[in-house]
C-alpha cells in the first residue's frame, strides 16, 4: 500500500517537479503514490527496455525485473537500454545498473530466471502492478493466472513487425483477464515472434513507452477518480500511418476458468504442475524475441 505521508527530499522535488505540476497528474499525492508503489516488469526486451527507463525516471519506489536472457547483438536495434558493451550480460542486471544510474531513489530487484509454475507466485506476490513485456503465449497465460489469483493488475503489451497492442488486464480484480479475451490459445504455428517476423525498433519501443503511461494512470488511480476504467484493447500501427485504434472489449466473463464465478485454475493446480502451460499452448519452441 502506498505510504501517502512520506515526504519528498529536495532532490526529488526538483527531479519530479515538471511532472507534478501537470494538470491531471495529481500533484504531490500522485507522486507519493508512485514512490510508494512496487512494479514488476517481466521481460527486459523491446517493450521492457523503454518501459523500464520511463518507470525509473518517473519515480516508482521499487522496480522488479524478471529476465533470464543475456544481451545479444541482434537485440540492440530495439532494446536500446542495452548497449554494445553489455553483450553477454544478463538483461535484468544491465537494466538494473541503468536505472540505478538514472535515478538513485528507485530500489531495483532482479530475477534472472524464467518465470515458471514454481516461482511465479513468490516473484509476483510482493508487487502492486505487473507489466507483461514477454513474448510467448504460454508465459502470458501463466502471468495472467497468477496475477488474477493474487489480485494484481496487469499492463500488457505486445508487438511484432510494425504493429503492437496495449491493454490492461484484471484491473483491480474487476476488469477482464487474458483468458476472458482468449479462452483458447492460438495454435503454435500461427504464433509469430519478433525473431521470425522481425520488428521495427521504434514501433515496439513506442508501445513500451505507452505501457509506462498506463502504469502511471493505474498507480495514481486515474481510472478510479477521473476516468472510469472500461475494458479496452488499443492497437498501434506504425505503417502506413502511425495510429492508435481503441477497441471496446468484453467485460470479465463469468465462465472464465480463472477469474470467473467457478474458477478451476487455482494456486494449487498451478504450483502442483497440474496446469501445464507448454502443453496448453502447444509444444512448439518459440524463438525468444
Amino acid at each position: 500500500a502506498p505510504l501517502t505521508n512520506l515526504p519528498l527530499t529536495q532532490d526529488e522535488y526538483k527531479r519530479y517537479g515538471r511532472q507534478m505540476i501537470v494538470d491531471g497528474f495529481g500533484s504531490l499525492e500522485a507522486q507519493l503514490e508512485l514512490k510508494g508503489s512496487k512494479v514488476l516488469v517481466i521481460g527486459a526486451g523491446g517493450l521492457g527496455c523503454p518501459a523500464l527507463m520511463y518507470l525509473g525516471g518517473c519515480g516508482i519506489g521499487e522496480i522488479g525485473i524478471v529476465d533470464n536472457d543475456t544481451v545479444d547483438i541482434s537485440n540492440l536495434h530495439r532494446q536500446v537500454l542495452h548497449t554494445t558493451d553489455a553483450v553477454g550480460l544478463l538483461k535484468c542486471e544491465n537494466a538494473k545498473r541503468y536505472i540505478n544510474r538514472l535515478n538513485p531513489h528507485v530500489k531495483v530487484e532482479t530475477y534472472p530466471v524464467r518465470l515458471s509454475n514454481d516461482n511465479a507466485f513468490s516473484i509476483i506476490e510482493p508487487y502492486d502492478l505487473v507489466l507483461d513485456c514477454t513474448d510467448t503465449p504460454a508465459v502470458r497465460y501463466l502471468i495472467n493466472d497468477v496475477c488474477v489469483i493474487l489480485g494484481k493488475t496487469i499492463v500488457s503489451g505486445s508487438g511484432v513487425r510494425t504493429d503492437a497492442q496495449l491493454t490492461i488486464l484484471n484491473y483491480r480484480s474487476s476488469g477482464p483477464c487474458y483468458r476472458c479475451f482468449y479462452p483458447t490459445p492460438p495454435s503454435p504455428e500461427s504464433v509469430g515472434s519478433c525473431g521470425d517476423n522481425g520488428v521495427i525498433g521504434p514501433c515496439i519501443g513506442l508501445l513500451g513507452v505507452s505501457m509506462c503511461v498506463e502504469a502511471i494512470k493505474v498507480i495514481t488511480a486515474y481510472y478510479d477518480k477521473d476516468e472510469p476504467f472500461t475494458p479496452f484493447l488499443t492497437v498501434y500501427q506504425g505503417y502506413p500511418h502511425q495510429s492508435f485504434r481503441r477497441f471496446k472489449m468484453r467485460p470479465k466473463q463469468a465462465k472464465c476458468v480463472v477469474c470467473g464465478s467457478s474458477p478451476v485454475i487455482t494456486r494449487e493446480t498451478i504450483e502442483s504442475g497440474a496446469i501445464n502451460y507448454a502443453v496448453f499452448c502447444g509444444a512448439t519452441k518459440y524463438n525468444v524475441c
Partner: protein, 101 residues
C-alpha cells in the same frame, strides 16, 4: 439489394488477403437478413486469396482462436457474435493477437 461493409485485416492478418488491409465491399443481401455468419462465409469466398489462407482464418466453423473480431470497433462478444445482424456501413475488423515483446 446489397449491404455496404468495410472489412479490415490488422496485426499482420492481411497476409490472407494479398496484403490488402482494408476492403470496401458490397455483399449480396438485404439489410436485416444477413448476420456475421453470412459475412464471414462471404469473406472466405470472395476476399481470402487461397484455400490455405482460409485455414489461418477459420477453425471449427468459426473464426480461429487468436483472431479478435470487432464490429464497429467493439468486441463482437458484446454484439451477439455470429448472430449480429449486419447494417449498412458496418466496419468489420479482424486482428491477430500479437505475442512478441
Amino acid at each position: 439489394m446489397t449491404i455496404s461493409l468495410k472489412v479490415e485485416f490488422l496485426g499482420g492478418l492481411d497476409v490472407i488477403s494479398k496484403k490488402v488491409r482494408e476492403h470496401k465491399v458490397k455483399i449480396p443481401f438485404e439489410e436485416g437478413e444477413a448476420t456475421m455468419k453470412e459475412a464471414i462465409e462471404w469473406i472466405c469466398q470472395n476476399i481470402i486469396a487461397e484455400e490455405k489462407d482460409i485455414e489461418v482464418f477459420i477453425e471449427d466453423e468459426t473464426v480461429r482462436p487468436g483472431i479478435l473480431v470487432l464490429i464497429n470497433d467493439t468486441d463482437w462478444e458484446l454484439e451477439d457474435k455470429e448472430d449480429y445482424v449486419l447494417q449498412n456501413g458496418d466496419v468489420l475488423t479482424f486482428t491477430s493477437t500479437l505475442h512478441g515483446g
